[in-house]
Symmetry: D3
Subunit: 270 residues, 6 copies
């Protein structure tokens, strides 16, 4: 397993555990974070043995968002011409977005396990995951508004697909804190666990359940749900028909059917 | 009224009751089911006297989804060439989708009344209905994942428009059971009734309420809401303007206005 | 401040209070209402000192929707040729929609404070606002169905982005009343206040909070969330990157950062 | 081969020749025409032995468009209520459109061979074909404008994808005649032949060429080009990748490669 | 008829002639131009007696594009904050675009008659017209590139729908001159006339032809073609079906049919 | 300058010349080709000194398309399970598409200079360029159909935006040769030069012309035209307004204006 400076990554039982690992910095997202995340998800995508991903944060908090020293560095790239500055800015934002796009585009389900602070860039990140689970002490805030800027690495694009439009706007305009129970009520998380230990136990149990399914079936299911965020129902129906034209010829249906008949647990190849 | 083998269909008080009628097979969807459903909804669409549709399942369960013996038959259509198999598969899936598209495209509201199992293909079906109501014993499961396949007759396309994205993914990846109360909380059903009798009473009461409205107004309302699942707000506004350019010249507005003035119940033509 | 006949408009502390002001007519939307609303929002858009908008209704009710005498006047425009009538109707509907589009397109957040009746056209109106808050006595009804027509000034287009699809259809087909608690549960309002006084206190507190943020950041945030109702995630990401290419060169980031460092409240220019 | 009243249909060498066969009525499109066309293309779609379709018109002219007596019959369906008339009209138009959608959606290439008049509904029809070829005496006119109506069975939707926007509008607003040479210049037809005999020879030669290709490859090619009329480039790229994931596993690639190596003509299964 | 400073407007025989009337300034587009254009097209849209519009330029040239002194004035609006400057700029561009949107959205066909220079903003303008015709001395140039900017009032958005993608890019990147014959060949104009007099004669002849058609049919035809620049074929088919559900109930069909039977010219109401 | 095995790359006068450099293999696209192309365009995108790109092929032919030995290697990746093969195939196709996406997404104009064969994958490649120019001996063929497959690296997605729909289909279904003059007539190339020397002279002259323009203006122009292939006109107008909100604050406008006033050639920074 490659070593990373901002993350700790482990692969056990077909589950990749991607842990943000800068607990003394409240897991703030520094330059290494953004680059390594792309590499990690490239590896995940290329490794058939990885069937599910869990993202968590080391220490008391999930993450406080983008590292402010990194922002300062970015600001130093700017020169005198507004037009050329805009050109640099635009490309930098697109590059940062690319890190969370790698999470979103991952062909395997990504589960976020959140405790403590989940602020600013951290919400952009978990919005790019498939499902979110949290401990009772979790606190969410779309903090970018208090930095004088509109969030630009994914929250404003992905979160309105996850929570209601009315509450989305209130949270984005005010940046106010949301606790675990409200997060559950508005659909931001799927479940609240008592504490961090219970959270990780619970999330890994769900991950194991998914890892035991046919990876062909899980990948197709994820592709289709993600596709529907942006496409029409008729296009979606045609897409799954084309997709399954190949995938229903897979061994996995026979394996599943045989297990169903013999009332045993099926075992699927990677 | 035509006789069907997989359904029992009745028309009373402008309400068509379409009952899946294979209770000894847990209302599993066999070959006749898919064909007859298209015919039934063709008849519904052609019959102005039908103003609302209720779909229910005979016996203790709504439906256990696609009949496995039918799947086996489909598997026998396949030959040696992967490409030509894909061609056959793709067309078969599109044809099966067509049966639930007939439900979705129906010009009149379709209400699903669900008790007991609502599993696999049954969720695809109720996702194509306008509203879903259930008895306290209802159990939902996106079961396709356990057959080693991505659901391909509509659940993955339509359900994300109905329930939240985060819970959608959990249910689709794990196939876990959802009970009536959770179904209510996540928006999968509009209301939970104590038992099957109360369920049918309640759903037919709502159906009668809708059947008493102007069918011109109800049809326009359905067209617009369905349209908005896939279109932009500005397109939707232009579409209703064009639609109502004709429909506001209907008698029904005068009938409604006269009833309003005289504080009586209006009676609308079919 | 301009005087209006259907509204009372005030600007205090960067908050424009737009009050529907025909309490003796239950704030029914007459011809003046539709015209003045456009003028008011033109002024709001042109006035940098306005940072947030609150819409409320004078008296015991928010609004009973479109004024029936106005509808009667519209009916008199019609002649003998169905085609030319349709031409007139279509343009009239588009013009009325334009009034609520002005609310929706406003570059600043618009908060609706709702007490008592919020019926028919009033729901079309609040659906075009960013957030909705109500008093405990609020009652909502998509009343158009009872006038023999499909709602055509925005409810059917915007509300499905705010509340769930299943409940949306039930409310639109039946026109049944929704009380404050149900409105909260289905996401129609963000919060319920005990009475009208508490409602206005609460909404103005939120408005003040937003008015204290960077107007550049708030405007960008609103633009992005509104954009995502109708656009793809990848388009949204590119759009914010292009937008922020200019906006991150604003003074407001420096102001926010300096305040953050000095642990003081930032003060942003209009 | 089934007998039709408005058409003569033959299948030779994998080419289905669909000939409009009412030469004494200038091949006007009567009620039988619209119904039979759907049946014919259902048969074409279901018959793997059909690899290419040629549509032509018997006699001196391709077709004069919709039969006016049929229009008169449609007019008699109308009653007193404008709203219910609109409901009938809308469904009738959708049904007529369905006949040409069957041509457009056909999974095999459809070539139109046009001589003499190609007017009104006939342009709607050939706009739904893949390619158009004509004799030197061909005359085209978007005649609907002279009947006091906007064309509504496909010309206004499909022709702008085929010819330039500027000339499209001139032809649609004026209904003026276009001769063979202009048709070639604006891209309406691919080639002009001296007379009807040369036209049929030429078109069947192209049809035979296509019929000799892999039907799997041709079907995929058609699906992709048709898809691109309405979809984004990135969606199109993903779609062909999903499609070819199955189709590149077909025998046809090996057959083609072997023929290429041995410098012989490949023979593909249906 | 209202008097304008940048235009001369006449209404004769149902044709509105909108002439840019600053020949001594090569019809450069000054502040009055942009404002008056909106007013003129508002009047055109509101006036049923106007059935067709011809836009031309007084003097030797059609127009040299935006007035540079106006640009200088705009530049003076800018202050010190890049973010707030961007806010001003964006709104100004949107406002200028609005003037040509008024041309594009006009419900009646707009024909451009072009002689001499048609440069920069003038191409943005004629791209918003339905059809373009020119005299032999016409010269076109997408001149914005030489002002150090990307054209932002419509050329880059509308012209690619009119001319081919490959030549579009060459013209936009280089700003090179296109003469009348090339303009004809690439589809930028529909026809080339010998000189300005022949041009106006020719264009007015076409305009008269269109003005004699049913205005209901022409408006529907324009709406549909414009709609298809941005929408799918299936959406377009549904839209015309909904549109014609009302419009086929118009008198104009009967008028047209009667004229057809009696072989006379029909006369349609406005 | 990095050395490549499949390409020769030079940067002179702000123009990057990317030459396919396997003349003894008719510039067939081998594994190195696909990888190096991505690297080259990454360098181009990162290097502000590159303002324009010219792609050409060394030797007598532009390129014969994908290297058949590479296809054979790909075939060896396949195993026994159709589903897992499809997974591999799909990802391989997406990866190959990525190489031409890099050309398409390049922020600077890319000009293709084509002589001799331009076949199969070579058409996919030039379809991803901004403009195409050819020598009189050029020959084009969508050759994939003869390999028993639908083209899957871009021709079917991008070419229909460049040439007419009718001729597109004929060329794609038959794979027939298109010579230089026909290529010009159908819009596939912008100009035909007598021979390869004249071709390179001509293309570099155009490239130099573009390289002398403001790179800020050229980049914005390209972004907008590319955007319009897939987006609505109203979205495009809003996008350029947002883009130019920053870019009109660039120095380049002042430089251009000053040069215009002094009748001198402007000099723009990279």
């Amino acid at each position: 397993m490659t070593e990373y400076t901002a993350f700790k990554v482990e692969l056990t039982d077909n589950i990749a555990h991607v842990q943000i690992n800068r607990p003394d910095k409240i897991n703030a997202m520094n330059a290494a974070f953004w680059e390594e995340l792309v590499e990690i998800f490239q590896w995940i995508d290329d490794t058939d043995a990885v069937r599910v991903v869990v993202i968590s944060g080391a220490g008391k908090h999930f993450s406080s968002g983008i590292d402010l020293t990194m922002l300062a560095t970015l600001a130093q790239q700017l020169g005198k011409d507004v037009g050329r500055n805009a050109r640099v800015m635009r490309r930098t934002i697109l590059r940062l977005q690319g890190s969370f796009n790698a999470v979103d585009n991952c062909r395997k389900p990504v589960l976020a396990a959140i405790q403590g602070y989940c602020i600013g860039g951290a919400i952009d990140m978990v919005s790019a995951c498939d499902m979110r689970y949290c401990a009772a002490d979790a606190q969410f805030s779309i903090k970018e508004i208090d930095m004088g800027m509109a969030a630009d690495v994914g929250t404003l694009q992905r979160l309105p697909r996850i929570i209601g439009d009315g509450i989305m706007r209130e949270l984005a305009y005010t940046g106010r804190r949301v606790d675990a129970q409200e997060a559950l009520r508005i659909g931001l998380v799927n479940r609240v666990y008592d504490d961090q230990a219970a959270l990780l136990d619970g999330v890994f149990a769900i991950a194991r359940e998914i890892a035991a399914k046919s990876p062909i079936a899980v990948a197709g299911t994820k592709e289709m749900i993600s596709y529907m965020r942006d496409h029409r129902i008729d296009d979606g129906l045609e897409y799954i028909a084309t997709w399954n034209a190949a995938m229903l010829q897979s061994e996995d249906l026979r394996v599943a059917m045989a297990a169903h008949m013999s009332k045993q647990q099926p075992t699927f190849a990677d």
